[in-house]
Symmetry: none
Subunit: 94 residues, 2 copies
DNA sequence: CTCTAGGGCTAGGGTTAA
DNA sequence: TTTAACCCTAGCCCTAGA
């Protein structure tokens, strides 16, 4: 029955999310949760959860910065799309 | 900017799509967008877009109809493959 | 190669719970 | 009431198969 309340985000999860965004860029939620570097911290999260959390984090930073119990205050994601990325999915023309 | 991510369908586009399906039958997406009768209204759409939109419209009607701006409520496409007499069976049983 | 069918994904609005 | 967390769905992309 009520095995479904709310699952609050922990600082570890938030950090994993931010680190994932820094690596893949924002919007690559499935990429992040499947990365073995972040997956362990985000086992209980879906790509939708990541998207929603990021939306909340951005809203918070853009409004106020109480920096009281703030774990992460700077959410600036540099995200440098390295050209050395091995992810090449070009299909050879027939 | 990678362009606008979402391009909402207008009532004119939806009508053109439905009319196209009524004429060629569902699944003939390329046929529809190339028809001079519907092309003007579907200039910004691809055959894939038509397919996806039709999928959404079908799902919607089969579940609920609480749309505010309900432009098209009946998406039943009779589609009579006969090249002659357009047998329009508007009779809802009995 | 072209086209369609279907799965997968994200963005944004809406809803719920605290 | 406010709001973090969660849900729903329109629209797009990717790929396999015909």
């Amino acid at each position: 029955m009520l095995g479904h309340r709310k699952n609050k985000w922990t600082p570890e999860e938030e950090e994993a999310l931010v680190a994932g965004i820094a690596k893949y860029g924002p919007g690559k939620w499935s990429n992040i949760i499947e990365d073995p570097e972040f997956a362990p911290q985000l086992l209980e999260r879906t790509n939708i959860n990541l998207k929603d959390k990021w939306r909340n984090m951005k809203t918070r930073v853009g409004s106020m910065e109480k920096s009281r119990t703030q774990t992460i205050k700077s959410v600036s994601v540099s995200f440098t799309p390295a050209k050395t990325s091995p992810s090449n999915k070009s299909s050879p023309s027939s």
